[in-house]
């Protein structure tokens, strides 16, 4: 299974294996990664699964839909060019080894 590494705001790293088709949000919430809340359950509706994707993987990500773009305007921590909502990024072979940095706060 492809792997993902979450880096919490305090530097704590968690590496998890994530089934293809499952989202980066699910990989975090199901493995005790505290920096992702995912309050709305993954429907792109709360902006509490905000993350910064490591630069090396930015161009491998699926394109951002309009909804996600709008919701990213509602994040508590600063939106950066590398910002995504982790519920909108599904794991794939291409993303094996992806590094996901988490912001200081989600809500």
């Amino acid at each position: 299974m492809p792997k993902v590494t979450y880096v919490e705001f305090d530097g704590t790293e968690t590496e998890v294996e994530l089934q293809e088709g499952w989202t980066l949000m699910q990989g975090a919430t199901l493995n005790g990664v505290a920096g992702v809340e995912g309050e709305c359950g993954g429907s792109c509706a709360c902006a509490t699964c905000h993350c910064y994707i490591d630069e090396a993987f930015l161009d491998k990500l699926p394109a951002m839909a309009e909804n996600e773009d709008e919701m990213l305007e509602c994040t508590v921590s600063e939106r950066k060019p590398s910002s995504r909502l982790s519920c909108q990024v599904k794991m794939s072979a291409d993303l094996d080894g992806i590094i996901v940095h988490l912001p200081e706060a989600q809500s």
Binding site: W22, Q26, E39, G41, G42, S43, A45, C46, E70
Partner: protein, 387 residues
């Protein structure tokens, strides 16, 4: 031979032993009674929710669908149209947009608790939960007070199904039609004089420059009323039941009301009112040695996934300190419940006030009457002793 009949009163009363057998022995099970496959393991349900292209909602999401509803509501539309429809409502129901409901919610719950007076027991469902959720929904949609009782009566009926015929009975269809007409009338009024309420915003909205279809607006409003009234009231009743049955857990909340939010999450996991929802396959899928065919219906048993020991440790223990992230109490994926923030806020507010007044209570009846529904599960009456 094992059978799973989501229409049977036994499953209404206690689905959990059935779920255990499903998960352990028949993780991909064809239910003849339901005429669909049943997925019961957490991982399989999540995979299905993630893969909306394969597990489509376009032919309905209720286990027993209402006539003419599929395709015209949020829950019965697939992306990309779903996403555009949903974004029209979404911003109005995010956590930050809902501060304005806290005080009306607090006033409403206290009014209904006051009304209990000196009684030694009361029915939590009819005297508190349903009145409170009707109040909140009427406030959100700015609907005419005089219709409260009728809206509640019909919302409760329309979610039910007939245990014998395995379909909606004439009384359930009539309730649905009443609600559709009620919504249609409100929509006409709001079209003439739109307010700043949630419904008005939705009615005047456009997608890509096109007005929403009349049927879409009507069915969506009908569904929001159904979910806002019955689904939320059902969930509150389940939470009250849990706190009655687990006094040591209730004590944790009484001692520290800040834990109530965590108790809401654990109740959503432990025995959410939304037990099972439906999808239809757009292609053949092989799972656990079975072949599910394109066109087959698939029931996703959220209530079972939430008790899956492959995902949650000691899943049959009700533990308000668990913080069960990723539970399926609101479903998940693109169709996760729209009202999560409202439901959480409303439950938290209600139980803050309730536990302040009644730190000790117990249930009066050991055998509860359960709603007859293939989709939802909650008691129709929950008499609580408070003295």
């Amino acid at each position: 031979m094992f059978r799973f009949d989501p229409y049977s009163p036994e499953v209404d009363a206690d689905p959990f032993p059935f779920y255990q057998t499903l998960r352990d022995e028949h993780p991909c099970f064809w239910s003849e009674e339901a005429n669909m496959w049943i997925l019961s393991r957490y991982a399989d349900i999540v995979t299905a929710l993630n893969d909306w292209e394969t597990y489509s909602s376009a032919q309905g999401n209720l286990m027993t669908e209402l006539p003419g509803r599929a395709g015209s509501t949020l829950g019965t539309t697939d992306p990309p149209r779903h996403d555009r429809l949903r974004s029209l409502i979404q911003m109005a129901v995010t956590k930050r947009a809902l501060d304005h409901i806290i005080e009306p919610a607090r006033a409403s719950i206290n009014e209904h608790l006051d009304a209990i007076g000196d009684a030694s027991s009361f029915d939590f469902v009819s005297q508190v939960a349903s009145r409170y959720t009707v109040d909140l929904l009427f406030y959100l949609f700015n609907m005419p007070e005089a219709s409260k009782q009728a809206v509640h009566h019909n919302a409760v009926l329309m979610v039910q199904s007939d245990p014998l015929t395995h379909t909606k009975g004439p009384e359930h269809i009539a309730a649905f039609e009443w609600m559709s007409d009620f919504s249609g009338q409100l929509i006409e009024e709001r079209k003439l004089a739109p307010g700043d309420d949630l419904m008005s915003q939705f009615i005047v909205a456009e997608i890509d420059g096109e007005k929403l279809l009349d049927r879409e607006v009507q069915m969506t409003v009908t569904t929001l009323i159904m979910a806002g009234v019955e689904s939320m009231s059902g969930f509150m009743s389940m939470m009250a039941l849990n706190l009655a049955d687990h006094p040591e857990q209730r004590r944790i909340l009484v001692d520290d009301p800040a834990c109530i939010s965590d108790a809401v999450e654990e109740s959503l996991r432990y025995n959410t009112s939304a037990q099972r929802f439906r999808r239809v396959l757009t292609r053949d899928v092989q799972l656990h040695g079975q072949t599910m065919k394109a066109g087959d219906f698939v029931g996703l048993a959220y209530g079972s996934g939430n008790r899956d020991e492959r995902q949650f440790e000691n899943p049959d223990i009700y533990d308000v300190t668990r913080k069960p992230k990723g539970h399926l109490g609101f479903g998940g994926g693109v169709h996760a419940c729209l009202g999560t923030a409202i439901a959480r806020l409303a439950c938290k507010t209600a139980f803050e006030e309730f536990l302040k007044r009644y730190p000790d209570f117990s249930r009066v009846e050991q055998q509860l009457p359960w709603i007859s529904s293939s989709t939802f599960r909650s008691p129709t009456r929950l008499e609580l002793s408070i003295r």
